[in-house]
């Protein structure tokens, strides 16, 4: 038997057929075109599912359940979307709508949550009962797995790790608070810090890598310049790693998981990032002599969304939720 995983993003719809072990055996894509009515988007999601099933000649009878990862919040009991900000969705009956096309059990959860769950089923944190996934992109998202299950809290608002306050009266956040971790640990944070430095140090290698245009600085430019030894980029990178270590220590102080997994665009900096953050963590630990969470890079990349959504379907369907 197979499970369907759908990764609904602001730009793309991705659907895949996933086997019991969390391996994608077929997939299909479409553009989200987020400005359309939700009914059109759900119809295309269902079409992607059908296409991916056709790739390997299976039918609905071979499918146990459908899982959907959304860039927003879902209500478990009725399978509705509370909201997806970048799709403009609010109180959308996603399960009901999807079941017009596919009469299968449908389960929905946040995209970072399902990605973290995917890593714990088929990725780097496989077999670890408790892991925390950090997605470091435009924002900083989180996915928590406790006792082998995705944890979204008692009201569905858990694992918003990017909106933990780490700096009282710090940098204003888009959410309305000041000093959220996201403002110090996302790709946007790196860019902000780098541009700030480049206003003073205009002739850095970093500026050269950005073609002399501050607006063209991104996280990759900073990492590349830092790897090349540029002093300005190294300072920004060092600062960034410090802040990420603070967030990681906050996670350790709270949950003390087996593993913390770094995903999202920033994690493409790979071992360079990992080594530096690992070196920073001990300084912040409360119990410096005791073992603590392993820090690792996510291993499933963009497949995590499909796999995690499908495995969410497997989990809840198996349990008869």
């Amino acid at each position: 038997m197979y499970y369907i995983g759908i990764d609904l993003g602001g730009t793309n719809i991705k659907a895949g057929v996933v086997d019991e072990t969390g391996r994608i055996v077929a997939q299909a894509y479409a553009k989200t075109q987020a400005q359309r009515p939700y009914g059109d988007i759900v119809r295309d999601m269902a079409a992607c599912v059908t296409m991916s099933m056709n790739h390997i000649n299976i039918t609905q009878g071979d499918i146990e359940a459908i899982g959907i990862g959304i860039p927003g919040l879902a209500r478990q009991n009725d399978g509705s979307v509370i909201f997806c900000t970048n799709l403009g969705w609010k109180d959308i009956p996603l399960r009901t709508e999807m079941q017009k096309y596919l009469s299968k059990p449908v389960f929905i959860d946040n995209d970072a949550t399902v990605a973290g769950y995917a890593e714990s089923i088929a990725g780097v944190s496989k077999g670890y009962p408790c892991s925390v996934f950090l997605t470091l992109g435009t924002g900083t998202g989180g996915g928590i797995v406790i006792n082998g299950r995705p944890w979204t809290g008692r009201h569905g608002i858990a694992s918003e790790l990017g909106h933990m306050t780490i700096a009282l009266d710090g940098v204003p956040c888009t959410c309305g608070n000041d000093g959220c971790a996201e403002r110090y640990t996302s790709a946007s944070a790196i860019i902000r810090m780098a541009r700030q430095e480049c206003m003073t140090y205009t002739d850095s290698l970093l500026m050269k890598f950005a073609g002399g245009d501050m607006e063209r600085i991104n996280a990759k430019t900073v990492f590349d310049a830092a790897k090349a030894g540029d002093e300005v980029a190294c300072r920004v990178f060092d600062h960034y790693c410090d802040h990420l270590a603070v967030l990681i220590n906050n996670i350790i102080c709270t949950l003390d998981p087996d593993m913390i997994v770094l995903g999202g665009g920033v994690s493409h900096a790979g071992e360079f990032l990992l080594d530096n953050v690992r070196r920073k963590i001990p300084r912040y630990l409360l119990y410096k002599e005791l073992p603590y969470a392993e820090l690792r890079l996510a291993s499933l990349g963009n497949d995590a969304g499909i796999i995690g959504a499908a495995m969410l379907g497997r989990l809840y369907h198996t349990e008869g939720v």
Copy 2:
């Protein structure tokens, strides 16, 4: 059948006989005299257990298991104490030592963890699967209950909520970090902030309540002066409530529990504290329209230590850990 709960503190040893429902049916006390060799302290712990059993004429045969709450960290597998800073203990074989006197299963955990567990069994958070207990005293401690069980993390270092960083480059903490939540949310934090204000505003009601001596300001003086409308005390209190709301929001962002319970000395300020912190929280919430954790005062007071330790014994013994 009964369970024994022992609350080991830096000043007092308290032991009690607890029934299946978490009710204390007998108890006994002794001074810890922390400077003594650990063998002497454990002997007195065992003596307290015997005394409490004698009060109600029961014998070891009526006891299922013994739980001990310690002001430090324990290793679950061998029942040893990793360390208790204020007792000067490091790698103490507490279970083995206790079993010289009482041949019963012995389980050990952190005092804030067992107090939080007690509230979830027999106190204010009874029946809630996920709750977070904050003990606001000299420091700020935490106890996490997930799926009805105490959560101490995968390496035993979870729930140190007072050592979450909430202020990058903030007030230096005794742990070596800067800006720990404890420095803004403990009784010590209130005192620090109040003394700072009183250096400028020397003729406040707060100073009068402290007999004109800044050194005599404590959390209660501040709350009393704030209740009486003293401007300086109100400012300190307001600031304190803000910071506590930030910590509470960090807990919501991470775990999203059913309930957050306030205990420890500061919580004696009661509804006055609760009302003010409750009013502050919505401002910090990421999802302002969605339900979130209830905020309540602990209800078991000093009994939480004995009850929680005994119920820890019940939990692990029943499960055959």
